[in-house]
């Protein structure tokens, strides 16, 4: 989490945040009313191809960019409401978890921070993290939306998870296409833009990564366990996800 705060001292990372937010917001607004799934809360999210790529390539700038972009999308899509606060946190997680889990979710991850389209392990890591980050956003947004009476958690958490996951899977094409250009030509790959010496990769970070993963699985499937209510599941999962994210 340290990098997410330190990046605000780096001009290039701030500009990257603004650019990521602008791309995300422009796509969200352009496709907002094309196919609404739950009007005012979620739609078929074409912009879902961006979060994994932004998170992996631009690290904390991508995470903040998605969070800010989502708020702009809500404002100018005409759906600004208290859920926009949860949307800010959820979309931040969609950009934060890809880079934070990439080196810490061992043994799924190899520990190396690189994208190699020929590596099966890289693809596996990408798919697992795409599910976790999509589900984390869904759980946090769903818990909040249910609490204030917008949409029942049991429905919204599934829809957002599937929506985000499909978008991220298609986004693999984007990451593969732009990774080399971003890293070697534009020199905007985030570990080369800001100082990453304070990277948290020890046992504590791995514990945090698995806590987030456990929270996501509980949040998406926990309500099917007899005797567990979706409300209890949603808040327990949210606590696990937020707690785990702070350890990363």
């Amino acid at each position: 989490m340290q990098h997410a705060l330190l990046m605000w001292k780096n001009t290039r990372m701030i500009v990257l945040t603004a650019v990521c937010a602008a791309i995300y917001a422009a796509t969200l607004i352009a496709f907002k009313t094309v196919v609404p799934i739950i009007p005012g809360v979620t739609e078929v999210r074409v912009a879902g191809v961006f979060p994994m790529t932004f998170g992996f390539l631009f690290g904390p700038a991508g995470a903040w960019g998605l969070a800010i972009g989502n708020v702009i999308g809500d404002i100018f899509g005409g759906t600004l409401s208290p859920v926009s606060i949860a949307g800010f946190i959820g979309n931040f997680l969609m950009g934060y978890l890809p880079y934070a889990l990439w080196t810490t979710l061992v043994p799924v991850s190899s520990g190396a921070y690189v994208w190699d389209a020929k590596s099966v392990r890289n693809w596996l890591t990408y798919i697992v993290i795409a599910f976790i980050s999509g589900a984390a956003a869904a759980v946090v947004i769903g818990a909040f939306a249910d609490a204030i009476g917008m949409v029942p958690y049991a429905i919204i958490s599934k829809i957002i998870t599937i929506n985000n996951f499909i978008g991220s899977l298609i986004g693999i094409l984007l990451l593969t296409a732009v990774f080399d250009v971003t890293k070697n030509q534009l020199r905007l790959f985030w570990p080369e833009v800001m100082d990453v010496s304070a990277a948290n990769t020890g046992m504590k970070a791995s514990f945090g990564a698995w806590l987030v993963a456990a929270g996501c699985i509980l949040g998406v499937f926990g309500g099917f366990v007899p005797g567990l209510s979706w409300t209890v599941v949603s808040w327990l999962a949210t606590c696990l996800i937020m707690g785990g994210s702070l350890l990363l």
């Binding site: 605000w8 001292k9 780096n10 001009t11 290039r12 701030i14 500009v15 990257l16 945040t17 603004a18 650019v19 937010a21 602008a22 791309i23 917001a25 422009a26 796509t27 607004i29 352009a30 009313t33 094309v34 609404p36 009007p39 005012g40 078929v44 074409v46 191809v49 961006f50 790529t53 903040w64 960019g65 800010i68 702009i72 404002i75 100018f76 005409g78 759906t79 600004l80 409401s81 208290p82 926009s84 609490a147 204030i148 009476g149 917008m150 949409v151 029942p152 049991a154 429905i155 499909i166 978008g167 298609i170 094409l173 984007l174 296409a177 732009v178 250009v181 971003t182 534009l186 905007l188």
Partner: protein
């Protein structure tokens, strides 16, 4: 792409300090959460609509009428199946609809409409730069507000660049008119690559331009636009705080405005 709902009118609401309007909208959000009875929330919605009329901005609300109707209908239809009530009206294959759950669904539909309307009220009466200025004055760090303002400024530019790229691809034979949304979704991925690359080139130019002008994220700032809080601002905030206190008293002490207890 037009990124504003601002409706330029000379009303008392337009002249309020942006901090007052942001704080006011947050207070309206909390007031909405005090009750889950449709009659009480309808009263709050009526008040928001009255403020819209006073701000001469009803046409902004009219622009989003379809979204507002959809929000309302969706909530009214969905919630009754997820809330249990005592007076069962309909039972079918394990699904129950009760009088209480129907009323709760109606209340949530009205609440959603009120949320969105209150958010629109802020946007209709406040310019984008005033919102950013208000956020800075409320304590949001300058670099975050700068990123927000820059993103709002850049989004239409990137949308236009995207439209040009799409037109170029369509002229080369790309079929984007398919009615299948998932097909369009899949076709968007290759289109997103040139949009992404052109935006990233812009990043380097903008960062160099900022650095060459001595931009420092943590430097102290002054602003051309310096809104002043007047007695009118305090009156608005004071009134809304009193309304909130009264609503909390009604809900907590008098147990008014509750259809389903234990839920917001």
């Amino acid at each position: 792409m037009n990124l504003t709902f601002y409706n330029d009118r000379a009303t008392w609401l337009h002249r309020l300090d942006p901090r007052t309007k942001i704080g006011g909208v947050l207070l309206i959000f909390v007031v909405c959460l005090c009750f889950n009875h449709p009659l009480f929330i309808a009263g709050i919605l009526a008040s928001v609509l009255a403020i819209f009329t006073a701000a001469k901005s009803l046409k902004v609300l009219w622009k989003l009428r379809f979204l507002l109707v959809l929000l309302f209908v969706f909530s009214v239809v969905l919630w009754p199946f997820f809330i249990k009530g005592k007076t069962i009206l309909l039972e079918w294959h394990g699904l129950e609809v009760s009088r209480e759950s129907l009323l709760y669904g109606l209340a949530m539909g009205l609440r959603l409409t009120t949320f969105v309307s209150a958010g629109l009220l802020l946007l209709a009466t406040t310019k984008n730069e005033e919102i950013t200025n208000g956020l800075i004055r409320l304590g949001i760090p300058y670099p975050v507000a700068f990123a927000l303002a820059t993103a709002i400024r850049l989004a239409p530019t990137f949308a236009d660049a995207g439209a040009t790229i799409v037109q170029a691809q369509v002229s080369r034979g790309l079929d984007l008119d398919s009615k299948n949304i998932f097909g369009r979704f899949k076709r968007f991925a290759p289109l997103s690559i040139p949009i992404f690359i052109s935006a990233m080139r812009y990043t380097n130019f903008l960062a160099m331009a900022l650095e060459s002008k001595g931009f420092r994220p943590d430097a102290p700032r002054t602003s051309y636009y310096e809104p002043q809080t007047t007695g009118r601002d305090w009156l608005v905030l004071g009134s809304l705080t009193l309304i909130l206190a009264a609503c909390l008293y009604m809900r907590v002490a008098l147990h008014w405005g509750i259809i389903i207890s234990g839920r917001l």
